[in-house]
């Protein structure tokens, strides 16, 4: 039992951090969405990420992947969260897996080489569909039972609509006989490979990175902002929410590591751990980002400060594949943890 990153893992974390800072900074993100480009990520930076092997990291060597664990992918997604990086990373990584395990090796290769796959989620009725970052024509559909890749062209009435998160490319579409009956390009059942379970962990890791950014940003401001002749961080009304952000972020970090390893090692409580990774990380991210906005005061409420980009990422990831309530019900129905 050891939950500390190995030297190799630490190196990957460090290099992904520098890559994200250099190629996908929030300054670059802002320039892109202000020019009307969504998802607000450079195609060249995306290709570079593909060359770094980001989309093949957790794919088995037998499927031409790098053969890392879910825990390696999760550590990368924590950095993606910390940097508020836009783009369909979660759905693309999972789609590569669906294509590979679904027996469509050529598509897997295309995705790991840089074709982006968005995410399809149901809208107000089973016929209504929302497509997130599906600008390359493919979307991933994830349920607890199975995961499939669907072509956007197989849907009717696709229209682009503005998204609350300005970095997101959002479309609405109609699936006349329901999203579940659209023809799939590739599909994997959960008992073959539990994609939804992995999604919970990757989303949790993303939300944890966001929580850690929020924790650090709140603390940094509380240290330096002076009012009434002293740094505001001396006040417990500021200090204690900062401390609570740190506790929640650390719980979220520990829990997603536990869940990722539980899946990698095939533990019987893997499902419970993965559901809890999501639940714990969503709560942490909501609390920590709300705390950041509050600690920053007026600046936290501006468009100019990055805080709102993080708040909107949290809103996206804490709702997209179902929220906390449905996961809590499933968590309670699970057998006692191992």
């Amino acid at each position: 039992m050891d939950l500390l990153p190995s030297p190799e893992q630490s190196e990957v974390i460090e290099s992904s951090r520098s890559f994200l800072a250099a190629r996908m900074s929030t300054a670059r993100t802002r320039a892109l969405f202000e020019a009307g480009t969504t998802p607000a990520v450079d195609p060249s930076a995306w290709s570079a990420a593909a060359e770094l092997g980001w989309f093949a990291l957790g794919l088995p060597v037998a499927h031409d992947g790098i053969g890392g664990g879910l825990v390696d992918e999760a550590l990368l997604f924590r950095e993606i969260g910390r940097a508020a990086t836009p783009g369909p990373f979660v759905s693309t990584v999972l789609a590569a897996r669906v294509a590979a395990f679904g027996g469509v090796a050529s598509l897997a290769e295309e995705i790991t080489s840089g074709r982006r796959v968005g995410l399809a989620v149901t809208g107000s009725t089973p016929r209504d569909v929302q497509l997130i970052d599906a600008s390359d024509g493919l979307v991933l559909l994830v349920t607890p039972q199975r995961a499939s890749i669907v072509e956007v062209a197989a849907l009717d009435g696709v229209t682009t609509v503005p998204c609350v998160d300005p970095t997101v490319h959002l479309q609405r579409a109609v699936a006349p006989s329901g999203l579940m009956s659209v023809a799939t390009v590739a599909s994997v059942e959960s008992d073959v490979d539990p994609i939804e379970r992995r999604a919970n962990v990757l989303i949790a890791a993303t939300l944890t990175g966001i929580s850690e950014w929020a924790r650090d940003t709140s603390a940094e401001h509380a240290k330096h902002r002076v009012q009434f002749d002293r740094a505001i961080g001396v006040n417990q009304a500021i200090k204690h929410p900062c401390a609570d952000s740190a506790v929640q972020a650390q719980l979220a970090y520990a829990q997603f590591l536990f869940a990722a390893l539980a899946i990698d090692e095939g533990r019987p409580d893997a499902e419970l751990q993965a559901l809890n990774a999501f639940v714990t990380a969503a709560a942490a991210a909501e609390f920590a980002t709300a705390t950041t906005v509050q600690v920053l005061g007026g600046m936290g409420f501006t468009h100019e400060h990055d805080a709102h980009l993080y708040v909107k990422r949290v809103a996206l990831w804490s709702q997209t594949l179902g929220g906390t309530p449905s996961r809590l019900s499933r968590l309670l129905a699970q057998p006692e943890p191992a």
Binding site: D2, L3, K239, H240, A246, V247, L328, L332
Partner: protein, 389 residues
Amino acid sequence: MDLAFSAADDAFRDEVRTWLAENAPTERRPRSGQAARDFDLGWQRKMYDAGWGGVAWPVAYGGRDLPLTQQLIWYEEYARTGLRPIDTRFVGLAHAGPTLMARATPEQRTFHLEKILRGDVVWCQGFSEPEAGSDLASLRTRAVVDGDELVVTGQKIWTSYADVADWQELLVRTNPDVPKHKGITWVICDMRLPGIDVRPIRTMDGGADFNEVFYDEVRIPLTNVVGDIDEGWSVAMSTLSFERGTAFTISQVQLASSVERLIEMARRRTSINGTPVITDGALAERLARARADCAALRALTYLGISKNARSDQPGPEGSMMKLQYADVAKRIYRLGIEILGARSLAIPDDEDDTEWVDRHLLAFSSSIGGGTSEIQRNIIGERVLGLPR
């Protein structure tokens, strides 16, 4: 990274589980007083004789000095016995003993350590005072050197088990004219010395373990001072950091098993409208969160132990665990009361019900004792995040 334990660790777990199943006391522990002391020390002696007296203690002092992972396993298995995490042995084994190892003279160590491990003696802690709670360093119990003795006059409070203790780790003010952290001395006090008066404090959970201790010109030999005169603060700090070690695992595992029993109870019992309690959506959500909170607390424990196994500098997980545990425990035992419903009003004769009422009341102390939650938040804010004091 891995979650799995090694084959050697799995074998160790089997050995521990078997030994505890065959040897742990199954009768109910007396609630307090001499009978509780006899129960605890009898159990300690049994563990000592079998080589389990001090899993974290160095071999030189009769312990096993297990690697942290095996300490974790020991505490996880110990938790299954249902024995409480803290009893009359706690201060000796987890506070005074480790402090003596770190700071005492060879004579002091030889005299005291084996007695603690063998279950011959009970220690208590004389730290808090009526005017020195969270601000411990402002303590005022006065000690004056007179010949080869310290003469102590003053008062301590919240002293668990003082009524049945043989020895006390006592902090006294030996120099009132220097900054408050500098004039404190850590001394071993014999609880049977003349001039000591122990008065019980009843607590809201019906417990009778707390006491006030009064000192009226109590004469303690100078040879009982640990570290130097006026150096007691640094001696005391080595004690406080030991409290947040692996032993906390027992509380965490028992809380998780309480939640599983609550879930069982909610499936079995019916609410006022005749349906199983668990079908109440609001209660079900709270049970699910309770389970989630316990799983996350366990993950944090594993992360903390992983860090401590590789570093002598304990990470912030200790304060975080204590803070989070207190919050979660209060919520969970409150939930127990709600599932019991009005049955929780009468002092129950059903042992199972009694336990939930007791734990609910006891949980109020979890965010006060051993450093309040407010102080834990200050520690995390200042030492982890670097916020100004």
